[in-house]
Each structure stands twice: as structure tokens, then as C-alpha cells.
């Protein structure tokens, strides 16, 4: 069995009386793209915030790259990159300034940060707009910058929380290709999305979460074969069957 890069054991988090994350356990292998799916309010973002040491869990154990998030949060922070669900950018700064700043916060020196920033902007097709102010960017460009910042400092584990919401197919494809390229270079990726077909294409394994718990975890193909022929049903069918059709939140 491949090396497990991220191990989560029985993670809990409540807000007031509401159990946002209620006993979540899973493991991600090194170099794997792992999908975390679930309806609105399932607890995906809360899980990612705990794994990225921003939010303290009520209980549970998380080990990333051999470091416990409780005992060695600093070590964990130095090997992770986070692309938050909401845009987290300085709108009044240029794309380059944003990237260099976060690169330096991730421990790069000025020169490295600059070089990496240009490299990632190239990857995202944003080199011409490097010095443009982010506030003047389109939604898709902001999304790509949001993702590019997460890559600064070359993390070994990447948390991508719905990196493709609200963007056109071109931008989305650009992001898919980027993500695949990262995996090919050995990066481990935790990916959340509401686009089932996206998860199907990208992820080696997916976990479906609902009401703070993981209700199933397997490869897309295995999940589909549970309800029919894998070539005829979609992951969305599986998702709706498992999580029901009632509205959330």
C-alpha cells in the first residue's frame, strides 16, 4: 500500500450546539487527488480549515507528512498550501504583489518568490496581467490567482476548496490541467467541489460527506457500480441517491 500522507482520525467540531464535523476519518495517499464531496453545509470547509491549522478541532487526531497538527502546527503549515473557498486576495494590490507577498510568508526569499510567482502566472495564463490590480480582474482571473497563491512555496499537500466555482469552461480546464500537472510532480491534493463530473475526471478516490459525517469513500468507478453499470450512471446519481434530494442549510 502507498504511503499515507494525510491521516484524519475521528475529527469533531461543533459551532454552539451544531455539529459541523461529526467523527470524520480518512487518509490520503501520497501523490493522490482525493475528492471531498457533499451538499452545502456538509462540513467540507470546516474540515479543511481544521486540517490547515486555522481552526482548532474539538477532538480528533490529524497527522500530515508525519506531523501532528496539534503538536507541530508550524511544521504542518510549512508543507501545506490552501486555496480557500472564498477569494482571499488583496484586491488593491497587483497579481504579482499578491503572489510575492504570500510566497514570502510561505518562507521563500524575495528572488525565489518572484521567480515562482512568474512561473505560476505563466501556468495560469496571466503573465500579461501580472502588474494589474486584482480588483480589475474578472471572476475567472481572480479564481486562478486564488489558486496560484496556494502553490507558492511548492507545498507538498494542497487543499483546494471549490477552486472552480463561478468560472467559464476555459478557465476551468486550465485549472484541471494545472492540478493534474501538480499531481504528476508528486503533490498530494485534497479537492472539494460541487461538480460531480469534475470529481469523476480528476479524483482517484472520493469521499461523500453529509451532515458532518463521511457516508461513503471509494474510487468513482466503484461508487458508480454500487447503483448500476459504471458506464451508464454518473457520480451525480450516486451523490443524489446517497444524500437524498432534500435541500440543505
Amino acid at each position: 500500500m502507498a504511503e499515507e500522507f494525510l491521516v484524519v482520525k475521528d475529527l469533531h467540531k461543533s459551532f454552539n450546539e451544531h455539529k459541523a464535523v461529526n467523527g470524520v476519518s480518512f487518509a490520503i495517499e501520497k501523490g493522490e487527488i482525493f475528492g471531498l464531496l457533499g451538499p452545502n453545509g456538509a462540513g467540507k470547509t470546516t474540515t479543511i480549515r481544521m486540517l490547515s491549522t486555522v481552526l482548532e478541532p474539538d477532538s480528533g487526531e490529524v497527522v500530515i507528512g508525519g506531523h501532528s497538527i496539534r503538536q507541530e502546527p508550524e511544521a504542518v503549515r510549512s508543507i501545506i498550501g490552501v486555496c480557500p473557498q472564498e477569494l482571499a486576495l488583496y484586491e488593491d494590490l497587483s497579481a504579482l504583489d499578491n503572489m510575492v507577498f504570500f510566497g514570502r510568508m510561505a518562507g521563500l526569499n524575495g528572488q525565489e518568490a518572484r521567480a515562482q510567482a512568474m512561473q505560476h502566472l505563466e501556468l495560469m495564463g496571466l503573465v500579461e496581467r501580472a502588474r494589474g490590480r486584482v480588483s480589475r480582474f474578472s471572476g475567472g482571473m481572480k479564481r486562478r490567482i486564488n489558486l496560484a497563491i496556494a502553490l507558492m512555496g511548492t507545498p507538498r499537500l494542497l487543499f483546494l476548496d471549490e477552486p472552480t466555482v463561478g468560472i467559464d469552461p476555459q478557465s476551468r480546464n486550465n485549472i484541471y490541467e494545472t492540478i493534474r500537472g501538480l499531481r504528476d510532480r508528486g503533490m498530494t491534493i485534497l479537492y472539494t467541489t460541487h461538480y460531480m463530473e469534475e470529481a469523476d475526471r480528476l479524483c482517484r478516490r472520493v469521499a461523500i460527506m453529509d451532515a458532518g459525517q463521511i457516508i461513503t469513500l471509494d474510487t468513482p468507478r466503484q461508487l458508480k457500480s454500487q447503483i448500476g453499470s459504471p458506464d451508464q450512471v454518473t457520480l451525480e446519481d450516486v451523490f443524489l441517491k446517497l444524500t437524498g434530494r432534500s435541500l440543505r442549510d
Binding site: R49, S52, T53, V54, L55, E74, R77, S78, I80, V82, P84, E86, L87, A88, L89, Y90, E91, D92, L93, D97, F101, F102, R104, M105, A106, G107, R133, I149, G153
Partner: protein
């Protein structure tokens, strides 16, 4: 070392964002000077009289009281020995006559020692100087209050206490009334005073109250206007910056920072440093323009003026960071900032001299850092006091800064993003 780099980078990032915000820059630098230029224009018709100020002193005590000695000591100087701008002290004989002269506007005002001055002092129960002045003559009243304050603060602790004790000892026959024994007693009492650290408590012995006669008519010298607006705008600009810090939390960049190797303390330190740098730029501009364009006089202790300005910047930045950790939304941070800045500025004497306020209001004003800063600036720049007179004000500003900073750190440590 790495943490210092982080602090610096965060500060630089904030400054970059700041200079791109034209409205903020305008509000921060141009706006204060519109105020000051306006006041300078209003003032340009007034002033120009270079006569030596005469300050009148009266005592209601019977002859032989300590106040007679104090007045004697203060009025002794010959006019020719006075430094330029230094007021001449004049002794008036009769309280009722002096008061009548003020009411008839024949004399601008005077300081009066009460009838029980010596008695109250020697029993340690505290006494009170009375400043009677024409309300219209702001400068004169300011000057009298300054002198009364100086008597209370400086003469109060040392000479008055010592002389009171000596007078009592002589009267009670403890020491013979010859010069040698008195001098020796003075020295031994002084020694004991110093050792006991009584110096810090002088204000408990004498304080003073200002009384107004007639209508008030505003009239502000640039030496008052510039520091007043400096205090107000340095604080205002810093407080408003709290909004930017809350924005950092709201647009999730704070969360992003927390997932990197940057420590929470460094984030706070970076934000604080950025605000301090902006404040320093502000005071440099204020004083450069103040000296070159408005010819302000920094008095005998320019160092005190600069230290007070610096502490004002530190205190304001600490307040800003505290506000940011207390406010939940950008809007609440913004309105809280504007409200506190606009309430504290006049209360703390930024708009008109707080030494003209009734005593109770002056007491309340002491809860504002502005009052201390203005008090320090006024002492040095308006009343010609020396460095040591402003030290309590510096300490007060430092204490405010420490309290605000402490709350900020504590809130930021424990608060979720």
C-alpha cells in the same frame, strides 16, 4: 529574525495598499492641513503685539504667610533679567480691588492665594489657588493657568513643603530663627523628601481652579493649533486604519496568513508597524510644515515635543489594532473609529484649550490620551515649560499604549478568524 522579516513585509504590504487609496491619502495628509491653513488665516489678523506679559499675583493671607514668600520670590526678578517672552510677575495688594479691576476689564486677570494657604499646607490637607481672569482673553487666562499649575506642581512639592515645615519649626521653637540653622534644616528636609519620593505627589498638596468672567472669545495661537490637530489627526488616521485590519479578516486573507508559517504575533506586529510608519510620516509632515510654514515654536524642549509626538503615534497605532480586534465588521470598526476620534478630540482639548474647561471636565478629560498629549504639548510649547514637565504626560501616553496593546494581543490570541 524570520518573524521580523514577516512583520516588515506585512507592514510594507499595508503601506502599499494604503498609498493606492487616494481618498485615504487625502484624508490623512491634505485634510489636516486644510484645517490648519484655515486657522492660520483666521489668526493672521490677530497677534503681533510683542509687549511683555504682566501676570498679577494676590494673596489673601495675613502678612507672614508662606504665600507672601512665594510671591516675593516670584516677583523678585528685574525686568532686564527676564528672557524674551518670559512674563513679568506683578504683586497686587488687595483681592477685592483686583477682582473689581478684572470685572471692569481694567486688568486681564490674576492668581490668588487663599487666606488659609499656609495653614492648609502645613497640615497637609491640600489647598487651592484661584485664577480669576477675563473670559475673553484666552491667552492671558492660559498663561495664568500655566503659572498656577507651575506653582502647584513645582514650587508645591519642594519649596512650599520645605518652607512650611521650616516656618512651623521656627514658630514652634524647634529650631532657632537664624540663617545657619534654617539652611541646615532645609537641607535635611530636602534629603528626606527626595528619599521618600514625595516628588510624585505634589499635585495632592495644591491644585488650582480657573474661573471665567465675561464671554468667551476664541483666539488660538499656532503653537496651540498645530499640536492640537496633530493629536487629533494622528489618532483619527490610525483609528480609521482599524477598518483595513478588519477587512483583512473579512476578505479571508487573514485566514490565508494563518495557514502559513507566520505567527499570529507577527501578523499583529506587522499591522501595528504599518500604522506606526504612517503615523511617523504624518508627524514629520506636521512638524516640518508647522515649523517652516506656520513658524511654530517648539519651546525650550524640542525633544519633549518629538517624544510626545512619537508616543502619540505608538499609542494611536495600539488603539487601532485594539479596535480591529474588538470590532466584528468593517462597518462597525469604521464607525467606532470615527466616533471615538470625534469625541476624544474635543474632550482631550484638540479643538480648544482644555485648560479653559471647568475643573470637573478637565478631570474627566484625563481618561483620554488626547488630554495628556495636549497637556504635554501645551506645557512645552505654550507655557515654556522644560522637558521634565512633560514627563508625566509621556508616561501617561505610554501607559495608554501598553493597555491598548495588551488588549489587542489578548483578543487576537483568543479570537477565531
Amino acid at each position: 529574525m524570520l518573524q521580523l522579516t514577516h512583520i516588515w513585509l506585512i507592514a510594507v504590504k499595508d503601506l502599499k495598499i494604503f498609498v493606492r487609496d487616494r481618498a485615504a491619502v487625502f484624508f490623512f495628509i491634505v485634510f489636516p492641513f486644510i484645517f490648519i491653513i484655515m486657522f492660520n488665516f483666521l489668526l493672521s489678523g490677530i497677534g503681533g503685539e510683542d509687549e511683555r506679559l504682566e501676570l498679577h499675583l494676590v494673596t489673601r493671607e495675613p502678612a507672614g504667610g508662606l504665600s507672601h514668600q512665594i510671591i516675593g520670590a516670584m516677583t523678585k526678578a528685574e525686568e532686564s533679567q527676564l528672557a524674551p517672552g518670559q512674563p513679568k510677575m506683578v504683586r497686587d495688594k488687595d483681592y477685592a480691588e483686583a477682582r473689581r479691576a478684572v470685572e471692569a476689564e481694567e486688568m486681564p486677570g490674576f492668581i490668588a492665594f487663599p487666606a488659609d494657604f499656609t495653614e492648609k499646607l502645613s497640615t497637609g490637607s491640600g489647598t487651592r489657588l484661584e485664577v480669576v481672569a477675563n473670559a475673553g482673553n484666552t491667552n492671558y487666562r492660559a498663561a495664568l493657568s500655566g503659572v498656577a499649575g507651575a506653582i502647584a506642581a513645582e514650587v508645591g512639592a519642594d519649596r512650599v513643603i520645605v518652607e512650611a515645615s521650616i516656618a512651623l519649626m521656627v514658630r514652634g521653637g524647634v529650631i532657632p530663627p537664624d540663617e545657619a540653622s534654617i539652611n541646615q534644616a532645609v537641607r535635611s528636609i530636602m534629603d528626606r523628601l527626595m528619599a521618600g519620593g514625595a516628588g510624585g505627589e505634589e499635585s495632592a498638596f495644591i491644585d488650582f481652579a480657573t474661573q471665567k468672567v465675561g464671554e468667551v472669545e476664541a483666539e488660538n495661537p499656532a503653537n496651540f493649533v498645530i499640536p492640537g490637530y496633530l493629536v487629533m489627526f494622528v489618532f483619527f488616521a490610525a483609528a480609521v486604519a482599524a477598518e483595513a485590519i478588519v477587512r483583512e479578516r473579512q476578505n479571508r486573507t487573514l485566514e490565508r496568513l494563518l495557514a502559513t508559517s507566520v505567527r499570529r504575533e507577527s501578523i499583529l506586529g506587522g499591522v501595528f508597524t504599518g500604522t506606526v510608519i504612517r503615523g511617523l510620516v504624518q508627524i514629520v509632515i506636521f512638524w516640518t510644515l508647522g515649523i517652516l510654514a506656520f513658524r511654530v515654536d517648539l519651546g525650550l524642549a524640542p525633544a519633549a515635543v518629538f517624544i510626545l509626538s512619537f508616543l502619540m503615534v505608538i499609542m494611536s497605532a495600539a488603539f487601532s489594532v485594539m479596535l480591529a480586534t474588538l470590532a466584528r465588521t468593517q462597518r462597525s470598526a469604521g464607525s467606532l473609529a470615527v466616533i471615538t476620534a470625534l469625541v476624544l478630540a474635543p474632550l482631550g482639548g484638540c479643538w480648544w484649550p482644555s485648560f479653559l474647561y471647568p475643573q470637573w471636565l478637565q478631570d474627566i478629560a484625563k481618561i483620554t490620551p488626547h488630554a495628556w498629549a495636549n497637556d504635554g504639548f501645551n506645557k512645552v510649547m505654550v507655557f515654556g515649560a522644560d522637558f521634565s514637565a512633560a514627563v508625566p504626560d509621556m508616561l501617561a501616553l505610554a501607559v495608554f499604549a501598553a493597555i491598548f496593546g495588551f488588549i489587542a494581543v489578548w483578543r487576537f490570541r483568543t479570537s477565531a478568524v
